[in-house]
Symmetry: C2
Subunit: 513 residues, 2 copies
């Protein structure tokens, strides 16, 4: 067995069963190893950002690190933006990057570069193989690191000779993933903090956003009278009318300040203390109210069980769920963020996975989705655009029995549209709803926030996607996905119904008025 095969077999034995790949010459022995170990499923992406975003989506849905197989520094670099998102979402991912043979590095051949320097900013764990015989052990350690709660991106750099040279037959094993309990004192601290009632805020995030965690949070809030929020950009959140509504913490920092005003005590369960997404003149950077020392549970702890223990300790009883009324499809309306959001919330099926990179076009939908049947939503935790379509691709590979709805803004969608080809090739059950507002709309807001109330021609041009108009139907079809265009709610509803009824990928461009 060579090093490459020992790597693949070690990963497979640890439960990593999918490899999102865009290999090159320095990964040929790994490609051969994928043929030797067919239980590892190989999925080709035509751009590395597709592979890394797919691994992120896969990791969020399964809790298991998928492999990415990437070609040297430049190939890895193409995947960094979506690894940044994976890092912020604490998704387990194992990057496998081929490098020049150890004895060829010094020649500084054209494709050689400092891969570790590129990898560190997005990786919780980085290792470089020195010989074939270390590869199984390094792979096991990298997977253990990726699976260590709350999860991280692991990166393994594998020179070509370490792949092709002989390795030991014996494979290293991974310790099983574990999540420490929230200790009793931390639960007690939280209970004391929440005695402040409306002057206390419970902020939940990460692993707390399961049905169990959210049910416990709602009970706790009802019992104590505390405020409760979900972190602004959850990596993964269960949603739907089966859960008591819990608002998300708003996006803009002034809104957060208002939402938290009067908070004297705060409990962070799976969430970090709130900070501004961006800095603005005269606006604070960290958003925890002054003088408030949060009770912060470790991100890697079992915060679901911790919330349940906290609810028990407080004597909190189950609360009746009063979800908002589910909207109906607004008949015969032009599409705008409101009618679009109503239409999607009205039609999405039970068990859907909604990958939400709809940006400004998705705000109304996000406020309505709590009225829809139980579903999972995956968000843009790291803020690096171009995540949605790859993430949807990986989620569909992870959960072939669930419908994936890729709810996508046009500006962000242009970053990684190659994903559609992989969806077509693999027959993935993804319905893409592409929100075409033909601008970087969020930047129009941000110009105003930066004091640029009358943008000049350059500012307008640099936020305009309408010249020329992008024909998304043509793009989707060019990549092998059947597609149509909708300009009214009726057309959109018909397209969504068709997409939901048929297996495999479909695409609708929703043109916003």
């Amino acid at each position: 067995m060579n090093g490459a095969e020992s790597l693949i077999r070690t990963a497979l034995a640890a439960g990593s069963e999918v490899c999102f790949a865009n290999p090159g010459t320095t990964e040929m022995p790994l490609v051969a190893a994928l043929d030797a170990v067919p239980a590892m499923r190989s999925v080709l992406g035509l751009f590395e950002g597709v592979c890394t975003g797919a691994a992120d989506g896969y990791g969020r849905m399964t809790g298991k690190p998928a492999l990415t197989l990437l070609h040297l520094g430049p190939g890895f670099a193409n995947g960094i933006a979506n690894l940044h998102n994976a890092r912020r979402a604490h998704s387990p991912v194992l990057n496998v990057i081929g490098d020049q043979a150890t004895w060829h590095l010094a020649a500084d051949a054209p494709l050689t570069s400092d891969i570790e320097s590129l990898a560190r900013p997005v990786s919780g764990h980085v290792a470089t193989s020195a010989r074939a015989s270390d590869l199984s052990g390094l792979t096991a350690r990298a997977i253990e690191a990726a699976r260590t709660a709350p999860g991280c991106v692991s990166t393994l750099i594998v020179p070509a000779d370490c792949q092709w040279e002989d390795a030991d037959e014996a494979l290293a094993e991974c310790s099983p993933p574990a999540r420490a309990a929230v200790d009793e004192a931390a639960v007690a601290d939280a209970a004391r903090a929440l005695e402040a009632g409306n002057a206390a805020t419970l902020l939940v995030g990460g692993a707390a956003l399961s049905d169990r965690g959210l049910e416990a949070a709602a009970r706790i809030a009802a019992q104590t009278g505390c405020r409760v929020f979900i972190e602004t950009f959850p990596g993964r959140q269960e949603r739907g009318a089966h859960l008591a509504p819990i608002p998300r913490l708003p996006y803009f920092p002034e809104q957060v300040v208002t939402a938290l005003e009067g908070t004297k005590r705060m409990v962070l369960a799976g969430a970090r203390a709130p900070v501004a997404f961006f800095a603005y003149v005269g606006v604070p950077s960290t958003l925890t109210p002054e003088g408030c020392q949060p009770v912060e549970w470790p991100l890697g702890a079992d915060v679901e069980a911790g919330l349940e223990a906290l609810a028990e300790r407080l004597g909190a009883k189950p609360v009746p769920v009063a979800a908002g009324e589910r909207p109906e499809v607004p008949a015969g309306a032009k599409l705008d963020p409101a009618t679009l959001g109503q239409t999607l919330a009205a039609l999405q099926p039970e068990g859907a996975i909604v990958v939400d990179e709809a940006a400004t076009s998705g705000a109304v939908y996000a406020s309505l989705a709590g009225s829809a049947p139980p579903h999972t939503t995956l968000g843009l935790t790291g803020g690096a655009i171009g995540q949605g379509m790859p993430c949807a691709t990986g989620a569909a590979v992870a959960c072939p029995d669930r419908k994936v709805i890729s709810f996508q803004a046009d500006g962000s969608g242009m970053y990684t549209l190659q994903s559609l080809w992989t969806q077509a090739r693999e027959g993935l059950d993804v319905l893409t709803i592409l929100c075409a507002n033909r601008s970087y709309r969020i930047l129009r807001f941000e110009l105003g926030r930066a004091g640029i109330v009358e943008p000049g021609p350059v500012a307008n041009a640099l936020t305009d996607l309408g010249n020329p108009v992008i024909d998304w139907v043509s793009l989707a079809r060019g990549l092998g996905v059947s597609a149509e265009r909708a300009e009214t709610t009726d057309e959109l509803a018909a397209a969504i119904r068709r997409g939901l009824a048929e297996p495999g990928p479909s695409f609708v461009e929703a043109v916003l008025a």
Copy 2:
């Protein structure tokens, strides 16, 4: 004047007149500054790899660093692969990357990351602004670094508050770019080395690949009987029937070993000593014949003048040019790399800029282009695929009076197809010839070279782009570029003639049998 405006004005005063941009919230003051300084041309790319590849192409054609304007670590990361190519081609580029405000960095907001760690592997110069008043000076130093021969990528990280705070009205100036002469002793060393006649090899590259440099190299070879080669992947090379043919050093290392066999002395004029692109078992890493100590002129020296001085010293006379016969369009033939190459070489106009990322489909063309009228070719020096379309975009911005031919492989083309939208938006005079062999053909060769003579289903799948077939005509039209498909030489010739006759972008998908 704020820091942002001082940056833009400093760059403009130094002769950098174009900014390839994909800004976000942390770059809003720079966007406003671009409005305040309209002489700086702003060109929007819908993905950062378009911006960096365009800056590379612009730098190759003008010798001046264009600016890129990129959003934080993830936005920069999307541009790294093409900056890797720029680095290897010694193209001058000035990256301007917004960062969180200095006082917001510690909050570790979602989009925050270690930008310097990402920047170093592709940058010859990296600096981070600490205050608005340092920005003009840092900009001038970064431009000087980028322009220092042989040229490099400079990266300037600019926290948002350094952009929006007040700066000095006085702007820093750049020292003019200069190129040191090849010193007389080095010319004399080269002359002595070439006395070995056919046992000597002159390898030319970089700035030596101008008309002047190549004419001198041909004279020197004729006078001394030495072998002469052009580096394997030139960043920029003048070509055509006005120049004596000089072969390129081959790609595969065994071929290089054969080409250099018997070489006892070597002169490197603008080129590095040859190394293998990739390592293979039993094949050497560095390809300079054993015992041969090359005479190596500094890459940043004026190698054109150096070669002319060397020719003078050797008493070399002008040589008659005997270019190969220009092919005709093969009538009624199916398209393959040979008929495709003949058709393009037969039709390309004088003064064209041919951006060659045609990979395996372009090998025959490359062997024939020396018979075409005078033109410039830009190559994939760094090996990171996805360069061609962005580079063509930047070359067209740099040289609006020349026709750009973007000769592009399909696998590589999928990396940065967003370029076509920028070409349409700016009305750039680019004819794209997309070579659709529907596979990563080069990897089929590399599988064999790695000893995988009968690839299994995974290896076949991971090198196959034909399932589903990518409809490139649909993609190009979706991005606003008129497009057609060609399956025969007649159809291709007609499409090329139409594309050359009309200004603005056009696209032909050449389907290879």
